[in-house]
Amino acid sequence: MSQAERARQGAPKSRQVMVNVIDTQPGSVTIPTDYSDELVAALRQPFTIAVDETALGTLGVKLGDRAIYAGQTVTVVGVLRGYPNMMQPTIVMSRDSLRMLGQSWGNTMGGPLMIKLRDPAKATVVAAQLNEMGKGQWRAWTRQELADANAKSMFEEGILVIIIGGCVVLGIIIGVAITWQTLRGAIMANIKEFASLRALGVGMGSLRRIVVELSFWVGLVGVAAAVLLTWLLSLLARMGGVIIALPFSLLLVVGVGLVLIAMGSGLLSLGVLKKSQPADLLR
C-alpha cells in the first residue's frame, strides 16, 4: 500500500527515521556521556525510544506519547537536547528493543565494536597494536581519531561542505563589493575635502594611508557586528534546540578574514582618490 492510500484510509502520517542503537547495559561504552541514568534506565525498558527535541514537531509526538514503529507500538520515554539532525529525524533505542522489534539480524560478527580499556592512557598504543595485528582486516581508532574521522567525513561527503563553501564564497564577494562601494562612496562624498588636504600639501601617499587605515577600522567594526550577530543567532538556535559550537580558533580565522576583506576593499577603492584634484577647487 502506498503512503497516499494509507493516508486516505485515515492512517497516521509516517516518516522515515534514522535509528541510533545503544547498549543499555550499565557501563556500556555506547551510552553517550551526557545521557542521565534515568534516561538510560527508561530506554532499558522494552519498546521505548528517545527523540531529540527538534524532531518532536516533525514526528508529531511528545514525551510519554505512543507511536508506531515498524508496525509495533513504542513509547517516547525521553527527549534529548543537542542531537538535532537536519536531514532526517533520529530516534534512539536500546539494542534489545531493536531486537524485539525484529529489526536486528543477529549479525554480531561484522559490525563496529566499541571497547573500553582498563587504562585509557594506553589507547593510542593499543590501537596501533591492533592495527598491526589486523594487517588491514580491521581498523582500530581511539576515541579522538573516531571523532575526527566522523567530522571529516561529514565535511567530505555531506551537503554541508557545499553549503558552507557557497556561503563563504558569497560572503567574500558580497562583503568585498559592499565594503568597496561603501568606501568608494564615502571617499567620493568627501572628494573636495581630500582635494583641499592635497592643496595644503598632504601627499597622495598619506591620503592612501588614511583610506587603508579607515578600511581597517571599518573591518574591526564589522567584526564587532559579526560577533554580536553570531551571538544572537546562537541564542536563537539554542531556543530551537540547536547548539552551535563557536571554537575560538574558528572565530579568530573569521575575524581576521573580515578585516582582510575590509582592507582589500580599501585597496580597491584607492583608485577613486585620483579624482581629488586640488586644481579643480580653483574654479
Partner: protein, 251 residues
C-alpha cells in the same frame, strides 16, 4: 608694535613668476588661459588678483602654488628656484611646509570637529598630537572660534566654516597664503571678518597673501591690486590699505 613671528622681511619677494603660459584643450583647439604672465608677491602684502570669471586668475594661483603645471614659464617661490622642476612629491612637501589655502567652498570634513579639521593637517606636518592640538586651538582662537572647538561643520554658520578653513590654513604658519574667492559665499558681515583675518595674516605674520576675487569691495584692504583679464595682466597698483574699511551691505 607687533610681536608675532614673521616670515622674511616685509617687502621681500615671496614668489616670483615669469612668462607663465597655460593652455587648456577645448575640443580640437587649445585655449590659452594664461598668456605670458609675469607675477610677484611680497611678504607682508595682501596682494589682490582681480578679474572677471574666465580671466585666468584661478589658473594663475594654481600655477603659482604647484597645483597645475604651466606649459611655459617659471615660478620661483621662497628659496626654491623653479618650483616646476621639482618632483610632484617635493612640490607637495613644499606646499605642506610653506603654503596655506583657502577656497570659496569651505571643504571641511563633515565628520570632524573644528579642532580636528585643523589638527589633521598639522599632524601631517609632523607635529605630535599634543602640539597639534595646542597649535590648532590657538589658531581657532585667533579667528574667534575659541568657543566652537568641538562643533562639526553642520553646526557652524557659513562664516564660521570659512573661519575654520582659515584657521586650518593659518595654523601651519604659512609663508605664502593663497585664497580663492574667500568671501564670495559669505554675507557682508562674515566677508568682512574673513578679509580682516587675511589682512592680519599679512601684517602680523608677514605672510605673502595672494587673494583672488572678483569682489571690488575687498580692494580697500589690499596693499596691491592686480587686474587680470583674458590671460593678461592689465594693471598693477600699490595702495595704502585701510584696515578699518567696512564692507558694504554690512549694517
Amino acid at each position: 608694535m607687533i610681536h608675532t613671528k614673521t616670515h622674511g622681511k616685509h617687502g621681500d619677494y615671496a614668489i616670483e613668476a615669469t612668462g607663465l603660459i597655460k593652455r587648456f584643450k577645448s575640443g580640437r583647439a587649445f585655449v590659452e588661459v594664461l598668456k605670458g604672465v609675469d607675477f610677484d608677491a611680497r611678504h607682508g602684502d595682501l596682494t589682490m588678483v582681480m578679474g572677471p570669471s574666465g580671466s585666468g586668475k584661478s589658473t594663475l594661483i594654481a600655477a603659482l602654488s604647484g597645483l597645475l603645471k604651466p606649459e611655459e614659464g617659471r615660478v620661483d617661490a621662497l628659496d626654491v628656484d623653479d618650483l616646476w622642476k621639482l618632483s610632484t612629491g617635493r612640490i607637495d612637501r613644499f606646499r605642506l611646509e610653506n603654503c596655506g589655502f583657502i577656497f570659496q567652498g569651505f571643504n571641511l570634513f563633515p565628520s570632524l570637529t573644528a579642532l580636528q579639521q585643523v589638527e589633521t593637517v598639522l599632524k601631517f606636518q609632523g607635529l605630535s598630537s599634543g602640539q597639534a592640538k595646542k597649535r590648532a586651538t590657538t589658531a581657532l582662537e585667533e579667528v574667534g572660534l575659541g568657543h566652537r572647538l568641538h562643533q562639526r561643520p553642520a553646526a557652524l554658520s557659513g562664516g564660521e566654516k570659512q573661519r575654520v578653513a582659515i584657521a586650518r590654513a593659518l595654523a601651519k604658519d604659512p609663508k605664502i597664503l593663497f585664497a580663492d574667492e574667500p568671501t564670495s559665499a559669505l554675507d557682508g558681515e562674515n566677508g568682512q571678518v574673513v578679509i580682516k583675518l587675511l589682512r592680519r595674516a599679512a601684517t602680523e605674520h608677514g605672510a605673502a597673501v595672494i587673494c583672488v576675487t572678483h569682489d571690488p569691495r575687498l580692494e580697500a584692504w589690499a596693499d596691491r591690486v592686480i587686474h587680470i583679464e583674458d590671460g593678461k595682466i592689465l594693471d598693477d597698483q600699490r595702495r595704502n590699505p585701510d584696515p578699518d574699511a567696512v564692507l558694504a551691505s554690512h549694517h
